[in-house]
Symmetry: C2
Subunit: 599 residues, 2 copies
């Protein structure tokens, strides 16, 4: 089982910095922008001139969840007061039956539980998650009973009376939230209800989002039969998380089998090198295998977050290394890229190629459906990603360790201390910028360290002596008895990565990775025209530490033609030094071109 | 001046085959499908359950124009009867004031000349063009007076009374039609009205198409100030044709200067290698320089046709070689590709890359705004392209020759006979499949042959003796006195073409041309995965004559990876023989992948 973030003490380093920025800047800035855009006021359930969006409740709920996780380490009276006031507002306006939705209660009370596509249960799910988090963290105990009452009402209406206008929600989320409620309270009816929603999905023709198909919200077939990741990527991954949860908790191998097949489908043909999932901007959806356009990549931040959670859930069921390798890819690339360096701005969409001229043009064309955004925004009209990132980073330590069969597994390397499986462990590492890991382990037990897929060589010392530890299923095993010092080096070097030949967008091209990072080039460091840049070799690449992290410099060539649009003369190849930075740091220095795949 | 198709006697060969197919198959099939879809019935101006489209009139008008051109050489009683009956219907239903529009008269009589965006004057323009053609060809003399009356009414309302709801039409076309009416009748008021519409455009804020900007219909600035091709590409090019016409006829250098700048802008950065113009599917528009995506290319057939006419008009004003080089590019690639080999199917959109799997997927996604079409259709709901192609091919001989200063210019090589500038000329050629040209010229005069840009070597004989004719501005000059035999060989070989490094879609890639043809590879000849095909050299390419024309076989390599989505191993390069065919022949053997640009 994964070891929750609350048992992991992050120490100074990469992730603790992210978490500090999260507590001190992002949490507050998201609150400020949500307050300014009426998201908190909407909870008062008073009619307003500009009605709130149907999923405002979920935005606030994710913020509450994030705030809950951060309070123990970063107590803040102001945040605490907002939490309490917000909970009071929700509880005060909850209907006597338990129902709460700031949009439906006020604007469509006669349509409660009648409109499948309008996110009611999705909002309920996020409120339930917030309630569990607030209670678990000891921050606020009043939301949990209120949301239990709401969940009981949902149980009554959907499962017992079955008098609602639909059976399954158009946007999965309630299912995984009910599992969390079950795991926190131990009350089986919530797991039962989650299972019911899963069982019912795709078994009947229910209403779908206007102009969308049944695959869009994964209602095209029963969930146990699903083998291909299709439709809206966030909907899909939220559903798969719940399937993995319920499968694990009930021992339902059919559910777990479907989850494994869906994961394999994503990893085999539908995942950006950055860990982004869901390539199609139209419908924000998974499309077909190998359709991974770069400049029009959708790769929503919420989808990468959901993929990370899906990996974490699957890792609980065995074969953890492959899931943690994918989680790592999403974590250090697509997810981190979702937030600006200053913690205030967010990306919803995460392209792998940016053309500033085209983006500027797109802004001038009214109605153009896909407009690249070359700087992060503080809030969106559909602002699911910002609070999702804040709650994600708030609990990021929870991805580091797991315990299984008495062995303590190190899955993601973060400077941290932990006590589990009879071992008191203190881990310090140069990751993600360097591959050295230093561990002090005390006590008696077994320890396993994941071998990152990107390492080019491994060397291990225990108490100063070189050793060859047992390696099994991509983990290195160490026995701890007393106090030992473990030094492992997973060597890091810039490496070319090639995409499958079926990926049209990357054909004949290569990306450069360094450790867990996918690298990119920005116009700011390299001048324009990054698409026609050729890297023949990484032999002479140099890695430099910078204030932001690292940068890699490599000899490269730029294709230059004679100026005509078409010419019988091949382009000249002009040598220059290409500067590469981690992809996640892009777009922090103004609008400019960016490129991940090179000739 | 160009020599009209009616003075050029096409002889057996490539273009005469196209024209025969046009007369015997396309003209009739377009009629059949237009009749079945109510386009001819709409002219009766009776209310119908399903109202006609606002530009049905223009569809029929283009068909009438095509039928007119074909009657002299391919007389057909049935077609003649349809023409006469259609003209009768139009004349009978024309309002007493001269107005005719099958949509507005019936469905919105109170909105006549009030709605700028709804194509009234566009339809009028095409009806005027049809009337001129029918009269000039001696096929039907009744439509001309009727349409003159309509033009007079437009003159009265727009120019004299100025009491209409708009000043310039949202879709240019009336302007060029009025010039044709002026050239046919000699009545200056029509030229004056065309000039008025041009002068007024972009000088005031008029209504634009919903969700579009003023650049969309080229109303963003006065036409003489326009230097960049922007907005809807067919609208743009129809406007530019009229600007070139009026500029030439009135000696307006400001208009001609704008035309030359607009042409240069297109050729420098907005033209597909196939001669396609207008790359953006959204708004069917020109976008920014070098934005030329391949699989999502719009490159509407009507835009390539309009570009050919624009080139023809500009060639009348000097520097003809460059205009005919671009015309040739559009003619043998984008325009020919607009029609299926059997003459029944048509393309509206002409991509340079096709992915059959994606196209199949796109059909399953409701509302997806851009769906690739991998087989040509007989009719579209917006079916401007089919009759445009039919009228274009019907007059294609008109692009071959021009006369200027007593010299007979050969601009496009078509098997044909002609008498002009004191010379009786008979031209036979292997073009477009081979570069040999045999000319028998009698009489006394001067003859100039355009040097195609694609030739790799030139050799000339006059009466069996090798000569080095005078070469000037990309033409070879010959003096004719008596009867001479001229043999010219413009050597043809497969050649690589490279796009400017700013064209992202083609970066690091090359296309292959053979003579005037851009070549492409189809899955049917080569198996799947054409995007990862690398051609290193054309040294060992072989050219074969086939029933359809030619095919080129060249040693190539296919990139093959180890099956993973991402790999640290570079792809293997597996040798095979790539088969290339002329681009225009693609999609005639069922749905399959297609590729123009190779590694």
């Amino acid at each position: 089982m994964n070891i929750g973030y609350e048992r992991v003490t992050l120490q100074a380093g990469f992730w603790q910095s992210v978490r500090e920025k999260n507590a001190h800047v992002s949490l507050k800035n998201v609150y400020r922008r949500f307050a300014e855009t009426g998201r908190f006021a909407a909870l008062r359930c008073e009619k307003q001139e500009n009605p709130p969006h149907i999923f405002f409740d979920s935005d606030v709920a994710k913020w509450l969840e994030a705030a809950a996780y951060l309070q123990a380490e970063f107590p803040d009276e102001e945040v605490r007061a907002i939490i309490d006031e917000t909970v009071d507002t929700i509880v005060r306006n909850q209907l006597p039956c338990g129902y709460f939705n700031s949009y439906y209660q006020v604007y469509k009370p006669d349509k409660i539980f009648m409109e499948r596509t309008e996110h009611e249960l999705y909002c309920a799910g996020h409120l339930i998650e917030a309630a569990v988090a607030l209670d678990k963290c000891g921050v606020n105990a009043r939301l949990l009973p209120a949301m239990k009452k709401y969940a009981d009402y949902i149980y009554e209406r959907f499962f017992v009376r079955r008098d609602t206008g639909f059976t399954t929600c158009g946007h999965p989320e309630i299912e995984l939230a009910l599992v969390r409620l079950y795991e926190h309270t131990g009350e089986g009816k919530y797991l039962e209800l989650a299972g019911f929603f899963l069982d019912e999905r795709g078994t009947r023709a229910e209403a779908v989002y206007p102009v969308m198909d049944r695959a869009y919200d994964q209602s095209h077939m029963p969930v146990r039969e699903q083998r291909e990741a299709v439709g809206h990527s966030v909907r899909a991954l939220y559903l798969y998380i719940a399937m993995a949860d319920v499968g694990r908790l009930t021992g339902d191998e059919a559910l777990l089998g479907a989850c494994r097949a869906l994961f394999a489908d994503i990893v085999r043909s539908k995942l950006y090198i950055t860990g982004g999932a869901g390539s199609g901007w139209y419908g924000e959806r998974f499309t077909i295998p190998y359709d991974l356009p770069n400049s029009e990549a959708y790769a929503e931040t919420c989808a990468a977050i959901a993929l990370a959670f899906f990996c974490e859930r699957l890792a609980k069921t065995g074969n953890r290394a492959q899931y943690h390798a994918t989680l790592e890819r999403a974590l250090y690339n697509n997810i981190l890229a979702g937030e600006s360096a200053d913690g205030k701005g967010f990306y919803y969409v995460n392209p792998l190629e940016a053309d500033a001229e085209y983006a500027a043009y797109a802004c001038t064309v009214p109605g153009l459906p896909f407009k690249p955004l070359l700087e992060r925004a503080e809030v969106f009209s559909c602002s699911c990603c910002p609070p999702n990132l804040v709650r994600f980073f708030a609990q990021v330590g929870g991805f580091a360790y797991s315990e299984e069969g008495g062995t303590l597994f190190v899955n993601q390397y973060m400077n941290s201390d932990i006590s589990a499986c009879g071992i008191g462990l203190s881990l310090r590492t140069g990751m993600p910028y360097a591959g050295n890991v230093h561990i002090t382990a005390k006590g008696r037990g077994r320890l396993a360290l994941r071998i990152p897929v990107w390492q080019t060589q491994i060397s291990c010392q225990v108490d100063g002596a070189f050793v060859q530890p047992e390696a099994k299923e991509d983990y290195l095993y160490f026995d701890v008895d007393g106090e030992i010092q473990i030094e492992v080096l997973f060597a890091m070097a810039p490496r070319f990565v090639y995409a499958n030949e079926h990926v049209r967008a990357d054909s004949g091209r290569k990306a450069v990775e360094y450790g867990p990072f996918v690298l990119c080039a920005e116009e700011r460091d390299n001048g324009g025209e990054l698409f026609g840049v050729e890297i023949s070799s990484l032999e002479h690449a140099s890695v430099e530490q910078t204030q932001q992290g690292i940068c890699v410099r490599v000899p490269a060539k730029r294709l230059c033609t004679d100026g005509a649009l078409y010419s019988y003369l091949p382009p000249e190849r002009r040598s220059f030094t290409l500067t590469l930075i981690p992809y996640y740091l892009w777009a922090n220095r103004g609008e400019n071109d960016m490129q991940v795949w090179f000739l």
